[in-house]
Amino acid sequence: MAGTIIGQGITIEGEITSDEEVVVAGTIRGKLNVDGPVTIDAGAVVEADIGATSLAVGGTVTGNVTASERVDLLSGARLVGDVKAARLTIADGASFKGNVDMDV
């Protein structure tokens, strides 16, 4: 079970940091920094810069994303912002607008 789960109905406005896995199904406005994997579920809305070891996006993210390992944009994901990660996949059906920097 993920360390932190932000459920569908929850909105957090502010800064979130964690050293355990985070799953976001709700709404975040601010900053999200996790020393671990982050999953943004379909239906989640994140208006924040995200830092993580790995990031899987199924929902909507507006903000810059930095991952020390990898970023995966799943089908249905919407990302507007820059991506900095060693590995990146963009699935068919994902939307992405931004710059990509894979030179870590």
Binding site: A2, G3, T4, I5, I6, G7, Q8, G9, I10, T11, I12, E13, G14, E15, I16, T17, S18, D19, E20, V22, A25, G26, G30, D35, G36
Partner: protein, 130 residues
């Protein structure tokens, strides 16, 4: 007589959220459903469901929820629509307001309690009346 239609349970879907031990939130938390805090929150929390602070959790801020169970640390006021329970081992500083407030042995509490309940008929009237 059993109801015919078997629609899905109408408890708030996925209404739960957990802020795990390693999580730190600085800012406001609002939402529908229940929330369990095992991490640290600096800021106000307002949820439609219940709030539980685990024994490793610490909240600095005001709380507005249905039922509130405090097992960890809280510095701030509580406005609960349901019951407030302060568990053994908890450290609470603030005003507690709720339908009922209970403090278990071993809890540490500094603050005010305002529980809303109706006095029994014989005590109604001017407080301290002879």
């Amino acid at each position: 007589m059993a109801r015919g239609s078997a629609t899905a349970q109408s408890t708030t879907s996925e209404g739960s959220a957990v802020l795990g031990r390693g999580a730190r939130v600085r800012g406001r938390v609002r939402g529908e459903g229940n929330l369990v805090v095992d991490g640290q929150v600096e800021g106000d929390i307002s949820v439609t469901g219940d709030l539980a602070i685990g024994d490793g959790g610490a909240i600095t801020g005001d709380i507005d929820a249905a039922a509130v169970i405090i097992g960890g640390a809280l510095t701030g006021d509580v406005a609960a629509r349901g019951a407030v329970t302060i568990r053994s081992g908890a450290k609470v500083v603030g005003s507690m307001g709720g339908a009922e407030v209970s403090i278990e042995e071993g809890a540490s509490f500094v603050g005010r309690i305002e529980a809303e309940f109706d006095l029994p008929a014989e005590l109604q009237g001017r407080p301290g009346a002879r």
